[in-house]
Amino acid sequence: MKYAYFPGCSVEASAHEYGMSCMAVNKVLGIELVEIPDWNCCGSIDAVHAYNPELSLSLSARNFSIAETMNMDIVTLCSACFFTLSRASKMLHEDPNLKGAVDKIMNDAGLKFTGESKIRHYLDVLINDVGPSKIAEKVKVPLKGLKVAPYYGCLLVRPPQVRSFDDPEHPKSMDRIIEAIGAQSLDYPDKTRCCGASLVLTDESVMLEMTKDVLMSARAIGADCIVTPCPMCHFNLDAKQADVEDHFDLNIDMPILYFTQLMGLAFGLNPKDLGLGRNVVSLKAILEKLKPPIEVAAKV
């Protein structure tokens, strides 16, 4: 199983532990991700798009042009990159005028692309190419008794018109992985709510309100932790959790992991290789629940 890998800017910085734990899990499952050489910003859902739509589409197109020489499906970890690249590919496919405009920009930059590469999220690869039963076979430390709230967020499954491998209202892919590694997956109404995304940079109080709803909903059903497949969701739920607590005078203490980190724990991998020391909210409560319990140094 070999794919053209698009890391995206977050996985290089704030979501470093997502990339680390993914690579560690890949070794166990025999997945090979070949980084797209000299990849650039995906084009951004809205940050660049609102400023200049053709620019955003051309940024996506440059990534397509490099990936197309690799003849493999493009795989990304970031829900936002996954969506942005998928939407760009769809828009260029359906709108000849837009395609013409982007072709002209690309030609002038000395680049060519068709836009025919398939864009996939890593979770799609795990569910449909690897499969939950193969994942279950690799488990060394079943996470028995751990109650996990899967938080899907927005752009992994929405909107179905763009590209979807799971149900937009009741996604199940991450639940199936949680069950495969022996933990209990919890159902709750806010698993596809929006965390507020990039509002964290411009309208923090709005984002805090939106993130609070997700955290409190998971807490209300008795979750030990939340797992997510999106760097932006992880940042808001984890790194900004203390600000949510301050702003609303709450005590939440909810560990937030990437689903790949939880898989790594179940595979018995070294916590250091899973980047567990990089998560902001302490993971102590859930690591002590594991048998045998795991200790993680808090500094990187």
């Binding site: 800017c9 977050s10 290089e12 910085a13 704030s14 979501a15 470093h16 000299d38 990849w39 650039n40 910003c41 951004s44 859902i45 809205d46 940050a47 660049v48 798009h49 609102a50 400023y51 200049n52 739509p53 053709e54 620019l55 051309s58 440059r62 969506f83 828009m91 837009l98 405009a101 002209k104 920009i105 690309m106 002038d108 930059a109 680049l111 927005c154 752009l155 929405r158 909107p159 018109q161 937009p168 596809t192 929006c194 995304a197 990039s198 509002l199 940079l201 411009t202 309208d203 709005v206 309100e209 939106m210 790194a239 980047g275 020391g277 990089r278 998560n279 902001v280 500094k299 990187v300």
Partner: protein, 196 residues
């Protein structure tokens, strides 16, 4: 939502070319398909922070209320979560409509209800132009109100915590073939100028 309906009717500043202008954008073609069912308004996770619901924004575009739409907070608050579009029976890409409206608001230099927003879009784009990739700390610095010492201190404390957790890179990650990015930026900027 009766009260906002009244607002719409009370304001008579209609720009009859606005709808046509919006119909030329990628998502704008379907604006007249809207049947005002309200699924988007009911589904929107950020509605509580908006002055007009997405449904009202679409109606206002149909009516040509350019000034009211471009000066609304709604267009900037939309977080592109796509719950509305997933449920829209007419298949309208509402976040993309909002994105085009932001574009027009910036183009027309309409003062934004959330003043950091235009800076966010401009700053983000400039950083990508420079490195080919995003470098979050630089964006944060561009958006910081430097006149507010409390905000500067809080930002610095948060930045230090992120640094300690290995979540921030001091030196930006830069692509090798920056010439291609430069050429793409040049081409796309020319395209925007022609449009104006």
């Amino acid at each position: 939502m009766a009260h906002t309906q009244t607002n719409v009717i009370m304001n008579q500043k209609v720009d009859s070319s606005f709808l046509e202008e919006m119909e030329k954008t990628a998502a704008g073609k379907k604006i007249l398909d809207c049947i005002q069912c309200g699924i988007c308004a009911g589904s929107c996770h950020a509605r509580f922070a908006m002055d007009y619901s997405p449904m009202q924004i679409i109606k206002m575009v149909q009516l040509g209320l350019k000034e009211d739409v471009l000066s609304s907070s709604s267009i900037w608050i939309c977080a592109s979560c796509y719950t509305c579009t997933s449920r829209c029976p007419r298949g309208i890409d509402i976040p993309l409509v909002m994105s085009s409206l932001k574009n027009k608001a910036m183009e027309n230099k309409v003062p934004a209800k959330i003043p950091t927003k235009p800076k966010f879009h401009k700053g983000f784009t400039e950083i990508v132009g420079k490195y080919g990739r995003m470098h979050e700390p630089q964006l944060q610095i561009k958006l910081m109100k430097k006149t507010n010492p409390n905000e500067v201190l809080n930002n610095m404390a948060f930045g230090f915590q992120m640094l300690r957790k290995g979540k921030v890179k001091i030196t930006p990650s830069k692509i090798k073939r920056t010439k291609e990015i430069e050429a793409i930026f040049k081409g796309a900027q020319k395209k925007e100028e022609v449009k104006k």
